[in-house]
Subunit: 496 residues, 2 copies
């Protein structure tokens, strides 16, 4: 275990980031793009050592980690491409109207600039894609923001490898040394001190609700509060309508069991709640689901601690009067052993009455909520808290019901999935990986996809500033050739 | 004085807003646009009664209030036009790639939806443009969000007139009755209870730092925190370089005196700090500025309370050792009387050492900070806190210095003004009226201009959802004809 960063080390990292920011904030997008590409290359050159170290520390397996490495590199290159295209600065120009009465209208032009040094808290369950050079760091870098990473205590050596890769790119690209630094710590004080440091201007966090809320509270209590983008996991409800179960109940049982156990269930998009309606289709489906879940091998979790926490959480849920075990045992066969996929069930009335039934079981566990009727389902779903995703399975004959369901679930979730499963998050511009609290602390923001960069940018408007003093993105000639909103029209043309 | 809203009234208003939201969130943009247009018409029909009541309660005078009414109506119509055009939902579509290996890529489409009922706290200094039907309310309405307004205690009857206008539009357009409601209160508990109500999903606030921070803290301490968009005023530094003073010092003295006293200085864009550099130009300029300020008549403020608070604040500042009075007296001639425009001066060293010198003097008061040299100016400006605007006056020969100044001030402000004055905020798409804390609690957001609507929207992504169940904005046919990012290209074309 790496020792906890001292107050002096935290201060040095945050000050170094602020110093680095003073020069890096002037870098053109092309230079930031070259840096991201260099980081991607450096990660690639870590080769087998990265996969081996990652597997040793997280037990996620070389296949999964190889895929995650591709995604990590892909994210960096996606932001590089976004920067080279350039329109992400959202330039808006309203030219002067000297003849306007009673007073002339000035020339006003705005675009996005970096917000300042960012603190990033990587996730325990994605040591690469949400690791020290993962999505939060990549999007902050893309915005032009230096990053101080508080490494996840679950994979300190993997984190050091990423730090080596990023440091290599910092040197190779002539970036200021404080542009990236890595701190270790398994005590909450380390993260809190970092978030409270006056040099830090924004926070990206991926992890548990308890840890995320502590970071959010610390930032909100600063003399000068800063934005916190915390993605804190989620229960990802899946609604299975009877028609869908009648049509393809067997397939759904197998696919859902696979989704619940994918990555050992340690995904923020893990389907943790399944809503069904009493009836013959459900009566056939639930034993099928239990069988498919029992078919699956026990899952090796990220750490023994996670397995113990999960067993405690499942045991607490099972101790509630209206909750019953449907599949699995809810605890490892032996201490530190693999965790058997587990399904519990409860009633809609209990679910409505007990918000505790919405607590995430982080692992291969799901809770089936049996509703008495369609009306009962619509009475129950409004109790849901904010969540990253919500899924509906329906047959073609159930489209009217499905429309009403999607409309209701839209208020709860950041992504709605049709006849599919929430696990698997595409890194594309249309992706939204966010949602109302407690899914995140900033419902407008996403931590996956190109829009993640917006968390680390803020607009600045320029009034009557001469051409020579304007940033290129706002100059009449549009030397970057970006898409701009000019006097109400979207165009790449220069202003003549 | 209207009595303070009771807990029951607050609860009723917030619940009513939530109920109204359940239907209003389904309204198409065209219906919201028609509603905004109806509100504008209703405000127009208030006629002279609005101006007379507003003037009686705020003493802002009929000319200023007539202009402010035009702006208020203009804002509503601007948002109506934005809705009718439709692209504000920021539709992004990445179509499926069934052939992608190893797994097919799903169809993902996202757009913005309303965030939920908003609480709005109008400003004391803009009873119309930031009143109960002002910018915050208009942008929340445009987003499809019901609004509960906590009226400013400075103009309760004016607020009731606006409520009458909005209620008229609610009835005429068949909107649900809870879509708008108005609460009164001059005690902090009223606002706090509203912000803490589980029915409220976002907050718009314009006012003082103390009140805004209290609202922010209350929202952050909720079991489920919600975003707070508080614009809390600002000191709006103006930097006057020697070349500009040499070229047009006399003009600047007169214009700056006018800007400091415009609206009795009760603007969040009031120039509250002026930075100059010791030298012959400044030696000539400062007496000129003092004379022009002394030339101006005393200002009738919004209320006797504001005058008393301002006199106390100026007296506290003047009691500091390195602060001297340059013009005006810093207090009204008699109790409740008009306030003489006042200029104080201090040294750059005192300014750097005493963050209290950045406290806003809300009224016709400014503080000149005299720097010893250009280097000293660059040493001093980094101490500035976040602010809405920053202004630079320079001659053509000072462009290199000005470039460095603009770059530094960009980190502090939301809008940079060249050879002008911060008062006067254009309502155009390129406007950014925001800035780092303490100017606002959300540096990415603006409370003026079309982008203000984004504060009350959040994205939702749809994965593999059939055409018939997608919102129109995301359907292949693009029936709304809006601009969308489709597979990486901005286009209004349908997907074939």
């Amino acid at each position: 275990m790496s020792p906890n960063a001292t107050a002096g080390e935290i201060d040095r990292a945050a000050r170094g980031a602020r110093e680095a920011y003073d020069s890096a904030r002037q870098f053109p997008a092309s230079r930031l793009a070259a840096f991201l590409e260099a980081v991607a290359l450096e990660i690639e050159s870590l080769g087998e050592e990265l996969l081996e170290t990652g597997d040793r520390e997280t037990a996620l397996g070389p296949a999964r980690l190889a895929g995650e490495r591709d995604r990590t590199i892909g994210q960096l290159l996606m932001f590089a491409a976004l920067l080279r295209e350039g329109s992400y600065v959202e330039a808006v120009i309203d030219t002067a109207r000297p003849d306007r009465k009673p007073a002339s209208r000035p020339d006003i032009r705005k675009m996005l600039f970096p917000i300042g040094p960012a603190a990033v808290f990587p996730a325990g369950n994605f040591p690469f894609a949400f690791g020290p050079a993962g999505g939060d760091t990549a999007s902050a870098f893309a915005a032009g923001c230096p990053v101080v990473v508080k490494a996840h205590p679950g994979y300190p050596s993997t984190s050091e490898l990423f730090a080596r890769a990023v440091d290599g790119a910092v040197r190779a690209q002539g970036f200021p040394p404080g542009f990236f630094s890595l701190l270790h710590g398994d005590r909450a004080e380390v993260g809190r001190a970092l978030v409270k440091h006056p040099g830090i201007a924004a926070v990206g966090f991926t992890g548990s609700l308890v840890a995320g809320r502590a970071i959010f509270d610390a930032a909100a209590a600063r003399p000068h509060p800063i934005p916190v983008y915390a993605e804190m996991g989620s229960v990802n409800p899946v609604v299975l309508l009877p028609g869908a179960l009648a049509e393809r109940g067997q397939a759904i049982a197998g696919e859902l069991a696979a989704s619940v156990t994918l990555g050992g269930g340690q995904f923020c998009t893990n389907p943790g709640l399944v809503f069904v309606i009493e009836g013959p289709e459900t009566a056939r489906f639930l034993p099928e689901l239990a069988a498919r879940v029992n078919d699956r091998p026990p899952c090796v979790l990220l750490s023994a601690r996670i397995g113990e926490g999960l067993a405690r959480a499942v045991s607490a849920t099972l101790s509630k009067p209206a909750v019953a075990l449907m599949a699995g045992t809810g605890r490892p066969a032996g201490p530190g052993g693999p965790f058997p996929p587990t399904v519990m069930r409860t009633t809609s009335a209990s679910f409505r009455d007990d918000p505790g039934l919405q607590d995430e079981h982080f692992g291969p566990v799901t809770l089936v909520v049996v509703c008495e009727s369609l009306d009962d389902l619509f009475r129950t779903l409004p109790s849901l808290h904010g969540t990253l995703t919500a899924t509906v399975h329906a047959s073609d004959l159930e489209k009217d019901t499905a429309r009403a369901l999607l409309s209701l679930l839209r208020e709860k979730a950041g992504r709605l999935i049709w006849n599919g499963y929430p696990t698997g998050v595409e890194v594309v511009p249309a992706m939204h990986h966010g949602g109302p609290y407690p899914a995140t602390t900033a419902p407008w923001s996403t931590s996956v996809g190109a829009a993640a960069i917006k968390r680390f940018l803020r607009p600045v408007a320029f009034q009557n500033v001469p051409q020579a003093l304007l940033p290129e993105a706002l100059q009449d000639a549009n030397p970057l050739g970006i898409l701009r909103l000019v006097d109400g029209d979207w165009t790449r043309r220069p202003i003549s």
